[in-house]
Symmetry: D3
Subunit: 295 residues, 6 copies
């Protein structure tokens, strides 16, 4: 019988010492599961299948049968989403060892239902995004193309789903859903950003929209644009104030061209800051306005 | 027997109303299929296996057997590509309810064959790209490394495949093929761009090359570079003129360094514009030339 | 029986001519395999499971059982990594037709063991990265979130694994491992870069850290940042000098904000160059300041 | 570059000669596909999910949602079954090179619909089989057990599905469906057999029920039972008469115990033969008794 | 938009009427799942990997590492088996709507642990079966062959696992585990049968060993053998007595040759019946001989 | 942090003691692999695709392209088969710790080539089996049906492949290949049996053909038939003589009907025994008749 290499054995021992893994160890409670990227992908795919009937899920759909498909999809979505929200609630609250599981599960179920009730409104807003993208892109032949495979539109769908979950205070899951789009398309929108209708992202790789950004209607953003946070200085105790708006506000009909960085170098958050638009003269940046407005 | 939650039922009803889904609904004709990202991935992989024998598809290939492998791969490629082009033709022409399917299918078959006949020339040009990338990257040990896994070279392969299909007026599919590279490597080249041989992309994430860009031979482009379109103003009726060249022209031997944005702010397309190179003094931009030339 | 299309047959013939494929052909030696992206993904996943017990691999782990899990994972890692290093050694040295396979395999086994012995130290350093990321991101609720799904942290893990393999002179594999993170998150760190502890990447898409970059402790880098190489001019014989440091050196506690390009336009490598920070006034570049220091 | 082994090359040549493969070659017409065992498995699984709601397909079903699930399943079944029947029609009629594809497809669609309309009656009869199996097996705790996993019942479901398709003159597919049960459970029922309600098969491995068998209601059959065909002697021209009933007829309430072979050795088909029950005295064979009756 | 076929719609309606599905409907309680054949396959595979280290699971095992592998496998087995036993308990007790889930789950966990504690003894007995099979089969070169792929031995492993679960009164799961072997190898052993050590099944297809069979040590059984139950007549109220031994008892060192049916035609269960051995003169049946003995 | 259950820990300890696993442990040598059922399935599928072009592998094949397909398939078969034969050689000779790997591998390669050279003859014989099956089955519409999905024919293909490997003295693999058919169709033919051309198996479940059986041309066998071995008595030292013919010899044109057991009860192997045909009067057994003849 072969002997295991001694060096490997010693490494196993060192890695198994509590002092080594203490900081990087995750201990489950019974019945818990980690949120799953794979499950969240299924959830987003189900949302697409529900919102855009006929484009996803390879199904032939007719007036008679749309109700069957929607019914089955909603039910499956409810079940998958409940279990992911449940996992998110557990993971975000690791120390709550006394919370009864049933209570957390019931909460997850309620949140899942609340999200599903936003789907009709979500569909309405996404229709405006698809329409705006179609009008802005001379290459597009029909709106179907945009719905089916434009990366900017795909990222917006993920963001809008994540934003609704964010508004419901679902922890952890919204961020994972926008990270999915970030990984797929290089577009990084924080689920907390507030974005109006008729929104367009063109090309998009490298675009970052920060947590407290506020974006109006009919806004169009190109690749490499950063709606970056103001630099918030810690107070004398070294604590960073949280929850203060620290990202740009874009009014209606603004276009931000490629690789522009919107930035407030003043060092103090909030207020009537001097936002600068770096890197692109096509942006009418650098005006001393409270928001950033383009004609 | 359990009752379904009432809220869910009502959401199903709202989502099944025609007024809700009308704008976002895709209705197939019989015999149609949507183009499939999965199938297109197989198609690009087959092209790689044909163009670079021995690198892809895990096959041992010898002088005697290369004909067997090429024969089988060409045949499979022909069959898969025909069906995807067929799907693309259907999807791009949704209203053509009277087109006979057979005619569309025959057209797809012809286009698929025409593409396959470009493969020998495609291989010749890609050999120059691999060679140029090898010469430009001191870290590379042999050309095999570049062919096998350089992200910039992978993106160029997708672009060159897509460009040939674009020249054949295949709708929809070319864009999906360059989007695959965009998603994988963050490099967004429009299939319509015209790019010479010995082309190199280094790092590449965030690089955008627009539809009417024209790029000479021996050009090298770094990450974050935008060959962005000129801003085309709509005419008095609000229509945007289409098909006018609106992107930069790079002559032979140009290098565009990282994060440079090539941009024409004049507001009028075509002609002898003042292109500006934003963000990078290493680019000899901003000269009033018809093209952009670097030493 | 159907006839094959003549055009296809001729294309098969042309692609099977030696003159056509000579430059783009990979010929295996017996017993060789190509390095496999799929296997490398498993290897990185195994490293994560070992380094961060309980977060990956869906396993419940307790004090009693951590040794079982670590033992099995180390063993599997050893076996997979050995075969990938072996493939890398073969691929990087294609002409060595006389090397005895056994010798190469034994070398691969030794390198695999050497890498595994660095895992405890790797875990220690990654704990500082996770801690720094947590302190820098006000949105993070606990360090678990960072370990489990922050794209910047994921990219750092890939880099640190790849860097250890790079230090062991393993060819080819380190680059493939950092390319995996590049493709997933748009963050491109060369395995040769030297990076201190408490390192943070925020958002990250489009960030490039070149081969000879040296980065101190407590450094924080945002999206779209390029630590680009100096332009190295070839000597009179047209050869580019290799191995000379040509990328920026960042001292401890530096922050580089979004879309900044660190760049030395002097045209001569090494020495006390005037680095310029392009595209972002928030970077106090080129100055011997507390924020960013170049030697 | 390696040379391929000469022996292999010669074998390839010999196998590629037309004289070698002529008898064993299948040449498709355009647009044809072979029937697919994998697709037929999906079809049978869909039928189970429709017929026994809640047992298959992992779905929670309630009074409100059963219509959604049934609607989606029926539609998917219709689509899959149509394409398999189409493949079966093509495969069974290889020489019909002039048949218009559209006509064959329309025929397949009609047959698929006709089959689906038998599902309610199929469910009714299968309920009697499940009930009978439950009554006959003292070990069963509830009917759910039988529906969910009794091999005999599974074989009966496949047979009843196949029999309906057989009655519609669908070629080839019915046999493949009963072969699936044969392979899974060792029970070989020809789709042409006529079997009454309340039918039970116990254990079942090795049981064979031939094409022209006729079985009454409330019949129970054990493992290893053969309802074998009479030996039909060819006429003077060496042709075997086809279509003549040549298998046993079992009346209502018959039980055939394990390993019994029902056999007519008279050598002449049809008529009031003396069937013998071989191998088991528990069968009151060959006698016009209450237990087993032959006409 | 296409219309769905009317016939299909009507069938959906008929199948969705409660009167149609009432008898064949399975309604879950919350939190329940159906036992899963796929999970049970994983469970049996895990048992094999634990019992026969090195043969299954593709793992290199040494004296040092066997504990790691066993530890991880036991833990995974415990978790999977607990959830399947839980599913089995729920499914077998559908009406118990008031049982607290937690209590059922705790019961499942206890049963799973109790089963795992029998594994060392299970391994000991299976070693005798492997040894006996090796001695009885002149074609076998080493015991490894038997462990790795003899169908008879595989069926015995499934039976012995199932029998331990049967003894623990785990419902439903034991039967599913022996059915897996039945489907794979055509060997149908009821989990309730009592079988001594050094047991061999040769070829095996069609062999049936009934619920109350009792088999001694060193017994060898060939293909097609039925240890069939006596015919138990219902009492005057039509009820069949349950739990009475009704299958043969084989003493030590008995061999039952191919296709023999052991059968008691007396019509009364229990007692000192005259068993008959049908179909094979090689079996010294029905006689109180050294070879085959019935009580 | 949770504690692992004590009982489980103790079981892990007991199962990890050498005295427990000694008999049931498989220790690999370096570089070894176990033969793999999955790989063998691929090998048999490749053989089918080569032997019956157009039926398997979903490929359109024409006169022009059959050479491409055959070439690629032969090459893949050669590579897969070599590695499985290599694994079989290692597994069957566990104690040969000093055999050089290279020598075993070269032997495997030679055997793989030798097998491949038998494929043209294998195809010729299988064509006679398909033809005979077609003539014997009045239900078959064309020979394609038999090739594509008759279970008896599938079993014969596996047997004939396995038999060629058996003749080459490949250990272990031939048996695994016939076991695959045994598991799929319940037909158990030992690879050592010698079977003439025009062979037919009808229904087949439970049919066993032993190792030294010799079967002539034009033989037809039904389900449940056992060509069982004579009972070989051990000599006074308890050793069973090996290699002596102990199974029936069937002459040309014999038909063996369902559930017949051919059996020699004389207790002495070889010679001119009195074979008995048990269970079926339709077999003219034991007599030196035209139908069934034993030597």
């Amino acid at each position: 019988m072969q002997e295991q290499n001694k060096g490997l054995s010693q490494t196993v021992d060192r890695l198994s010492e509590e002092s080594s893994y203490r900081q990087l160890f995750h201990s489950y409670r019974d019945g818990e599961a980690m949120p799953s990227g794979e499950q969240l992908k299924k959830i987003v795919d189900l949302c697409r299948a529900i919102l855009f009937p006929g484009y996803y899920g390879n199904a032939r759909i007719s007036k008679q049968t749309i109700r069957y498909h929607t019914g089955v999809n909603i039910e499956t979505l409810h079940s998958l989403l409940t279990s992911q929200i449940y996992a998110g609630l557990c993971f975000s609250d690791l120390d709550c060892e006394t919370c009864p599981e049933e209570k957390i599960f019931a909460e997850a179920e309620k949140l899942s239902e609340a999200f599903i009730e936003t789907l009709p409104e979500l569909r309405r807003v996404l229709a405006t995004d698809a329409e705006a993208t179609f009008h802005n892109d001379p290459a597009a032949k029909n709106a179907g193309e945009i719905i089916f495979c434009y990366p900017g539109f795909r990222a917006i769908v993920n963001y809008r789903i994540a934003h609704e979950l964010f508004l419901l205070n679902v922890p952890f899951i919204p961020r994972m859903i926008t990270e999915m789009a970030h990984s797929e398309n290089g577009i990084d929108i924080h689920p907390g950003a507030v974005i109006g209708d008729h929104f367009t992202i063109d090309h998009g790789t490298g675009t970052v929209i920060g947590e407290t950004s506020v974006i109006g209607n009919y806004v169009r953003i190109f690749q490499g644009v950063s709606l970056a946070g103001e630099k918030i200085l810690p107070d004398e105790k070294g604590n960073v104030a949280r929850g203060i708006p620290r990202h740009p506000v874009l009014e209606d009909h603004v276009t931000v061209y490629s690789n522009a960085t919107l930035w407030d170098g003043s060092g103090s958050a909030g207020g009537n800051d001097l936002w600068q638009c770096l890197g692109h003269p096509g942006c009418a940046c650098g005006r001393n306005s409270q928001t950033i407005v383009f004609n």
